[in-house]
Symmetry: C2
Subunit: 361 residues, 2 copies
């Protein structure tokens, strides 16, 4: 497949090549059904198997106990911002948020639009969101504590999740779910748009601890209630079937080919170490996130001048290294090295970076 | 492609074979990008072209004036039930609905959950939703009049849309959009889950007349406001890129291969006439919808006994005619003959039906 590039896009992002090949091979006739997976009924045995397999693999990969439900929703993380607040707020108990940048900030804004009692209990706005706060106050009176586990734009990531003294953690894990091992038990709810580590755009993974369902107000519109999805195994209405099918294939690849999340975490660590070492080696490249908060998923860095950055991105693109432009809100460069980015891609990038520095440093 | 069946599923439903073949051919490398269409950025020129082409084709195919916006949302028609009421209700002006069965009934329920002043101004519950009401009262004080243009479950379809005296029509057209020519001007909003006539599950087409945007309350959560999608060309957050891409290919097929909606309507009429003629020919098959309200998309019928119906569905499946079981809420048989069902499929079904009657009648 020499015509494919190394794709460092922040999301939608690279998918495992074997997954794409499997989709391609069975696109006109899914497992002898005589139909594409896009054409089978969401209430058929074919799709039932797809859905149940994706749920079971998520449970195994994330080591979820029976207390957790795995749901597939639509609308992306942005739709979860209001849904979390609408569903999980308890009367008289404030909603606590940590503000580590863009996505946290948006989650906070949506809870405020709903008129909820929102408390921003920690954050990193003071230094342009370049770090993750070391301590977060424990507030036993909170409905939940919301964090964004990884900030794709600033390239920061929580290394240890905050202690909450029993208050449920809620996390947007869109950009690092399935990339590392963590204990799910303190989490009341985890949500993740699939288009970074888990599949294509168009489906959102929602992992819900069963006790959260008791909080869901009965007077919300049906599609806004987590109970609707939990009671019907995500099949209240037609789900985004194809996107769930692709997520299932990505999960199968992660489980059977990579060997699980711990094995993936090792590879991800090697990729990130290699890239950060290249950045730290000289003064030509400069990482933008505080070293102790650096993301293993999104590696953000600057070059000496914006002109050099543009040249870097252009020449990298020509060399088959795509998607290295930083987010439009912050500029600079960013290499997103999600699960499906192979080590060879990062090696090629490091090789290119050293070469570019030699010629332009 | 002898290994593909004729797929009469009600949705997700059959897609045009050339569309599936094009997806398959470019799945690993979209137009020289070196990436799958699932892997390109939603802010790239590749996806921009996909999105703008889908919007432009929708405008041309439906003959939409400049007053209309074409948006792509997530969550299916079920998500539009509350969104329509939240966005388009005017203070002091009731929301009028016609109740022609399941989907209308659900739309009404969601508006009621929101505490809106809902008026059911006409309906067909009295005869088990087997017909479309002939007259609908004109209520100039209404915020809008909501109808479901085609009932997939009962097999009924509006032949002429009601006169409203300037009150905007709002219609769920999930199961017949793009299947026939109609005048869009009286419509304030049209919505359609793509998975019947327009593409795969996972994206909802929303066509909005510009004056409706002025009604949108500013205090709704961002993702619940139509203005959010209108202002950002459906790119406020990551859209369901792959589903939009497939919709674009289906629209291209409809425009360039079929020759547009009028040509499609002719074919659909021939398909429906052929099938209803077969049903009416003898007493063995019995259509369930009132003849004047029969749907050209979903043809519902019964056989003399439930046992014969089960045998019919089983033998048809073995003969390569799939998805003929009626909705679980009403039983019987149903052939969904959306745009992508070729005339040959209906001919094969009719041939099978005559043969089955001979052997079992």
């Amino acid at each position: 497949m020499t015509d494919r590039i190394f794709n460092f896009n922040p999301g939608p992002a690279v998918l495992p090549l074997p997954v794409l090949q499997e989709i391609q091979a069975e696109l006109l006739n899914y497992k002898g059904s005589g139909m594409s997976i896009m054409e089978v009924s969401h209430r058929s045995k074919w799709f039932d198997d797809v859905l149940n397999d994706a749920v079971a693999r998520t449970r195994r990969l994330l080591n979820l106990s029976d207390r957790f439900r795995v749901l597939f929703l639509q609308g992306g993380a942005s739709m979860q911002f209001p849904m979390v607040a609408m569903n999980l707020a308890l009367p008289g108990k404030p909603l606590d948020y940590v503000d580590t940048g863009t996505w946290s900030t948006k989650a906070i804004k949506e809870a405020q639009i709903l008129g909820k009692d929102v408390r921003v209990v920690a954050g990193s706005k003071d230094r342009e969101y370049t770090y993750i706060p070391e301590t977060v106050p424990v507030n036993p009176d909170a409905s939940y504590l919301h964090i964004t586990s990884n900030n794709t734009i600033r390239g920061t990531q929580w290394k240890r999740f905050p202690e909450t003294g029993g208050v449920p953690l809620v996390s947007d894990m869109s950009s690092d779910i399935l990339s590392r091992v963590f204990d799910p038990e303190p989490f009341g709810l985890i949500y993740a748009g699939a288009q970074k580590n888990a599949g294509p755009a168009g489906v959102t993974l929602v992992i819900l601890r069963e006790d959260m369902l008791e909080r869901v107000p009965a007077d919300l519109p049906t599609m806004f209630r987590y109970t609707t999805y939990a009671e019907k195994n995500s099949l209240f209405n037609t789900p985004p079937c194809f996107a769930i099918y692709v997520v299932g294939l990505v999960l199968k690849w992660l489980e059977e080919t990579v060997g699980g999340v711990a094995a993936m975490e090792d590879i991800n660590r090697r990729k990130a170490d290699l890239l950060y070492a290249c950045i730290d080696e000289t003064d030509f490249y400069r990482g933008t996130a505080s070293p102790e908060s650096r993301s293993a998923m999104n590696v953000t860095f600057r070059l000496p001048t914006p002109e050099l950055e543009q040249k870097f991105i252009e020449e990298a693109t020509r060399a088959g290294l795509g998607g290295l432009k930083g987010h439009r809100s912050v500029g600079g460069c960013r290499a997103s090295i999600y699960n499906a980015m192979p080590l060879e891609g990062v090696e090629a990038l490091v090789h290119f970076m050293k070469d570019f520095e030699k010629k332009n440093g």
